[in-house]
């Protein structure tokens, strides 16, 4: 970038600091109050404890919700990986109007507000007499993260040299062998980072879930229900754990994205 006058640079740093406060300030406050208590508007500095975290381990509602979230996330990741890869291969193999249209359809749930995706699925399930359950949530999440997986795999495929697959086929490998032994290893890091990102999105998905879920709730929904009642140390503890989890996940995903390309 161009060299800037000192005053301007200082101004930029100031704004960035302000934005940092906006983004992280509220979170730090929540983390802080998962350890300390507040009485009569004063922080009790000697009240440091892990009791809020201990209380979490006895909270069946939260543990069930966590389990549901993991099941939904795992299923949605598996499904979106299979279909995303399949669709990326198709698009990469042949440029056709049908494939362009298919790509547009895949991108729709990512471009539209989640409320539209959720409502369409809700109406669809009702018209086809499918009861709302965790299965419908899995479908909603799969549709939502499909574009991300598809895009990541396609980008990697397009970066690969076509001669790799051609050489494998020329040397007598079947299409299946070429896929398993040549293409898949080259796609591995892309698949892993797509899986992590897709899981993170699914873990956090709230708007679609609210519309298509039945009686079982995922973690964000559980949190929402708890928050409407008020602020308790348990929520702050849960919030802290989730923040730690999502930070680790995103660092992990970025690690894979930044991995040097295989020679």
């Amino acid at each position: 970038m161009i060299p800037l006058p000192r005053v301007v640079t200082a101004g930029l740093v100031l704004i960035a600091g302000f934005v940092f406060l906006l983004l992280y300030g509220p979170l730090f406050v929540a983390i802080f109050f998962s350890f300390f208590r507040l009485e009569r508007n004063e922080v009790q500095w000697d009240s440091f404890s892990f009791s809020a975290y201990e209380a979490l381990t006895h909270n069946r509602g939260i543990l069930d919700a966590l389990m549901n979230t993991l099941v939904v996330g795992g299923s949605a990741v598996a499904l979106s990986l299979v279909f995303g890869t399949l669709l990326a291969f198709r698009y990469h193999a042949r440029r056709s109007t049908a494939n362009e249209l298919l790509q547009l359809i895949i991108f729709l749930p990512f471009l539209m507000p989640p409320i539209i995706t959720g409502l369409s699925l809700l109406i669809f399930f009702r018209q086809t007499d499918v009861d709302r359950s965790l299965l419908t949530v899995v479908i909603g999440h799969t549709v939502f993260v499909l574009a991300l997986v598809y895009r990541t795999v396609l980008a990697r495929l397009q970066a690969l040299s076509r001669s790799l697959a051609e050489a494998s086929l020329d040397l007598g490998a079947s299409h299946f062998q070429t896929f398993v032994y040549v293409l898949l290893p080259n796609l591995a890091t892309a698949l892993v980072s797509a899986a992590i990102l897709a899981f993170a999105l699914s873990f956090d998905e709230t708007l679609i879930t609210l519309l298509v879920t039945g009686t079982k709730s995922t973690l964000p929904m559980r949190l929402w229900a708890m928050m409407r009642l008020g602020f308790t140390p348990d929520i702050n503890a849960l919030v802290t754990l989730l923040l730690a989890g999502s930070t680790v996940l995103s660092l992990l995903a970025l690690q894979f994205v930044r991995l040097p390309k295989p020679r």
């Binding site: 970038m1 161009i2 930029l12 302000f18 399949l86 539209m112 549709v143 873990f203």
Partner: protein
């Protein structure tokens, strides 16, 4: 083991198997997007032309939902107000996000990597947690009021901080800020450095370089960031519910209520179709800026 008749394998059989495998793959590839994306959308559009009578959805094509939207004095103002609110969110996020993205783009090496992470990671942080945290800050019993009271700046808790449309706009802006920072950062990174050198060599001041070179070249990032935040803000119904209170009624909330308490799915669908039209306009507008037509 199921019984399978044994037939001698020939090369035509193998070819037939390959073909049927290919048909299966094609079926799967088309199946999921068509069944779970396209068909639901079609049903949703269709639903907006049905109507409700005595708690029953009557499946007859009519435009009465759309007529009701324009005839009723409640809906159009809320619709316009929500669009303006989301426009506000888009402006705030771009105005605050641009300097941050610029700073990130001008950094070097490890510092750049770390700082970019710091401003991008919130993208993956739980959305509901951010709302919760901001709400606990702004509330009349919240942290901000406590600090101000302790400092002696106020004696009554400030009540205008939460449960109104401004609170909704602020909260959405904070939540969506990274969505504006990232595309602007990417656009700035794509500007070839030799163009900037050329600009400086030709005697442009840093302000001129910025105004005539950098800003036009980063316009794509601004457009993507603004439309991202606008669309996401428009469709949100949880944030307005959490920090908007009674007076912070937005279009998203009205739609959601049609599928809950009000139980008027066709009308809710019609309202969503109108929202979708606004979204489409925004996306097409962005597409035009991002992919300008080159004149030969």
């Amino acid at each position: 083991m199921p019984y399978r008749p044994r037939i001698g394998r020939s090369s035509t059989d193998a070819a037939g198997e390959l073909a049927s495998a290919r048909y299966l793959m094609t079926g799967l590839a088309y199946g999921l997007p068509i069944l779970f994306i396209l068909l639901p959308l079609a049903l949703f559009l269709l639903q907006s032309f049905f109507y409700v009578e005595n708690g029953q959805i009557i499946q007859t094509i009519t435009v009465r939902n759309y007529v009701r939207f324009f005839a009723d004095p409640i809906f159009v103002p809320v619709f316009v107000r929500t669009c303006l609110l989301c426009l506000g969110v888009a402006v705030i996020t771009v105005v605050l996000g641009y300097p941050v993205a610029y700073l990130l783009a001008s950094l070097e090496g490890r510092l750049k990597y770390t700082m970019t992470l710091v401003f991008v990671i919130p993208l993956l942080m739980s959305y509901i947690i951010k709302i919760y945290a901001i709400r606990s800050l702004l509330g009349s019993n919240g942290f901000l009021n406590r600090i101000l009271t302790t400092l002696g700046l106020i004696d009554q808790p400030l009540t205008f901080l939460i449960f109104n449309l401004q609170a909704v706009m602020l909260t959405l802006s904070v939540i969506l800020l990274p969505f504006a920072i990232l595309p602007i950062f990417v656009a700035l990174e794509k500007i070839p450095r030799n163009i900037l050198e050329a600009s400086a060599d030709l005697g442009a001041s840093s302000w001129q370089s910025f105004r005539d070179v950098i800003l036009p070249l980063s316009l794509q990032g601004i457009a993507i960031g603004a439309s991202f935040t606008f669309v996401l803000a428009l469709g949100d119904f949880v944030t307005p519910q959490m920090v908007g209170g009674q007076s912070g009624f937005t279009f998203g909330r009205i739609i959601y209520s049609q599928f809950g308490l009000a139980f008027n799915w066709p009308f809710g669908s019609a309202l969503s179709v109108l929202m979708l039209i606004v979204v489409l306009v925004v996306i097409i507008w962005t597409g035009r800026i991002v992919r300008p037509r080159y004149q030969p």
